[in-house]
């Protein structure tokens, strides 16, 4: 029972981070029609910025806010200057630009912050003694903190989509860009804000996961998370924010349980095992659990 709870907590923690990264991918996909493969590396870059600020004695919360602001600007500027000019041609061009950005942001992070592994301070107390006992298992404050931040973030994103005018316009552009423009919605501005919003969400994912990751903060920290997040978004349905959240949690839990309980799947097969399950599910439900749009665009 103890070991089960431990795996459950691990799974939920990783799952929530995958969930918000997947949410960032979904926000971009709904507007642009492609997966932004650079999302993880953009998040890596802003997480490095947060780390650099903490080495200058900036409190970690303030550093996180700055990183989120940089993430917003980075996302918005990327959409305006690199994605919009190629978007009209076709989706493949967008994909290629995103792949280019993937390597560019990774290289830039390496150039500015070198390839040494950094220790990113957590937003929450992460000491050995900072835990609640839940049925004899330790639930650490830093894990619980991640759950809370993610829960609040998801609540905010859903409120934005469903309760505000901006969110309504974002949904309209995702649904039918032409009719949105004909209604007076400035679709370009909405797409730019969407990329900016994804930049904020991604930054937060990076800042939350880096202190907990076994890799700490290094140039390869975000890549596996992007893979899981892409799988989570696909699993939940690429155009569904609820799907991203459910998909992220499902993958986090699958990963923790499969590696925990299936002996022959050691650390090396960990990623593969979770992905195999996703592939199996997608075989039976190609649009994902909550997806609506036809996926021919990919």
């Amino acid at each position: 029972m103890d070991i089960f709870l431990e795996r459950l907590f691990d799974g939920v923690t990783n799952g929530t981070v995958y969930a918000i990264m997947a949410l960032a991918l979904v926000v971009v996909f709904r507007g642009t029609g492609t997966i932004n493969f650079a999302q993880g590396e953009m998040a890596l870059f802003t997480t490095y910025i947060a780390w650099a600020l903490t080495t200058q004695d900036v409190p970690v919360w303030a550093a996180a806010l700055v990183a989120c602001a940089v993430g917003f600007v980075l996302g918005a500027v990327t959409e305006r200057t690199l994605i919009r000019p190629v978007r009209r041609r076709n989706d493949m061009a967008t994909l290629i630009v995103a792949l280019g950005l993937f390597t560019a942001f990774n290289a830039l992070a390496g150039l500015l912050f070198d390839s040494e592994t950094k220790t990113m301070p957590g937003l929450f107390p992460g000491g050995q003694e900072d835990y609640f006992a839940v049925a004899g298992t330790r639930l650490y404050f830093d894990a619980l903190g991640v759950w809370l931040v993610v829960a609040v973030l998801i609540g905010l994103v859903f409120a934005l989509f469903n309760r505000t005018r901006l969110g309504l316009h974002m949904r309209a552009v995702a649904d039918n860009p032409e009719s949105a423009a004909l209604s007076g919605v400035r679709t370009g501005r909405i797409l730019m804000l969407g990329w900016g919003l994804a930049g904020i969400i991604g930054s937060l994912a990076g800042i939350l996961i880096a202190p907990l990751s076994s890799q700490q903060l290094s140039l390869t920290t975000m890549f596996p998370i992007l893979i899981y997040a892409s799988a989570a978004a696909l699993f939940g349905g690429l155009d569904s924010p609820i799907g991203a959240v459910v998909g992220g949690l499902a993958i986090g839990l699958l990963e923790a349980m499969i590696t925990g309980y299936v002996d022959f799947v050691g650390g090396a097969l960990q990623q593969t095992a979770a992905l195999v399950v996703i592939v199996l599910i997608l075989l039976f439900r190609p649009t994902g659990l909550f997806g609506t749009r036809q996926m021919e665009r990919l």
Partner: protein, 236 residues
């Protein structure tokens, strides 16, 4: 002064030019219909006028040139298009569709009042307010598309083949409402329509298009009465 004055309009898609110097005008409160065979450039005219595709030539609304403006700016100027086919947001609720139609307006009370007005004119929208637009029938979706376009309070409403694919009874109902909007709100209408008889019943003036130009224009009565024009151009 004309509400809309179009002079020498040229537009197309990439290298394919569709309009070759089209002239037309719509007076305030007038209902005008464009007739013509497939490929004459009716839809292209609508898309150029609403800023969806670029054009050369001049388009002036109420004395203000619209040339070079994007679709949202043209809506702001007072021209709203009901596009051909799907003009709704199929995954948004009927209510949200109407709200998006008011995207440029800041008067929350006025928006709520207009939603009430159009739900009164199209009772089906009130009954289906929470339903996703994609679950509505074709006729209901067209009513929603018209109401959505009217939510911006346009001076000029463009309708691109509103009758397309709809049952005759629904089409008659839709045209009745368009006439009512024109009479009660004073909104000028520029229609593209295949159903010439129906359009001639509503319109006061007609433009006849052929390969990207206006080849004839006149009072709707004259077109209704003139057998040779009817046979030559309207296929009646």
């Amino acid at each position: 002064m004309s509400l809309l004055k179009v002079t020498g309009l040229c537009a197309g898609y990439g290298p394919a030019r569709v309009l070759h110097g089209l002239d037309l005008a719509v007076e305030p409160g007038e209902v005008v219909v464009m007739l013509g065979a497939n490929g004459a450039g009716k839809t292209t005219t609508m898309r150029a006028l609403s800023g969806l595709i670029p054009h050369t030539g001049t388009v002036v609304l109420d004395g203000t040139p619209l040339d070079g403006l994007g679709a949202p700016e043209i809506v702001a100027a007072g021209v709203s298009l009901v596009p051909q086919g799907r003009g709704t947001f199929s995954h948004l609720s009927v209510m949200d569709n109407l709200k998006v139609g008011a995207a440029l307006r800041k008067d929350a009370d006025g928006i709520a009042a207009d939603i009430d007005t159009w739900c009164g004119v199209f009772p089906i929208l009130a009954r289906r307010a929470k339903q996703e637009a994609g679950t509505l029938s074709g006729g209901e979706q067209q009513m929603l598309a018209v109401a959505r376009a009217l939510m911006s309070r346009p001076k000029l409403l463009l309708c691109d083949e509103p009758s397309l694919g709809l049952a005759p009874k629904i089409v008659a109902e839709l045209f009745e409402v368009l006439g009512e909007v024109n009479r009660t709100q004073g909104t000028a209408l520029l229609l593209v329509e295949q159903n010439a008889d129906l359009a001639l019943g509503l319109a006061s003036r007609v433009y006849l298009l052929e390969v990207g130009r206006v080849v004839a224009e006149g009072d709707a009565d004259r077109f209704r009465g003139d057998e040779s024009i009817r046979r030559a151009y309207l296929g009646l």
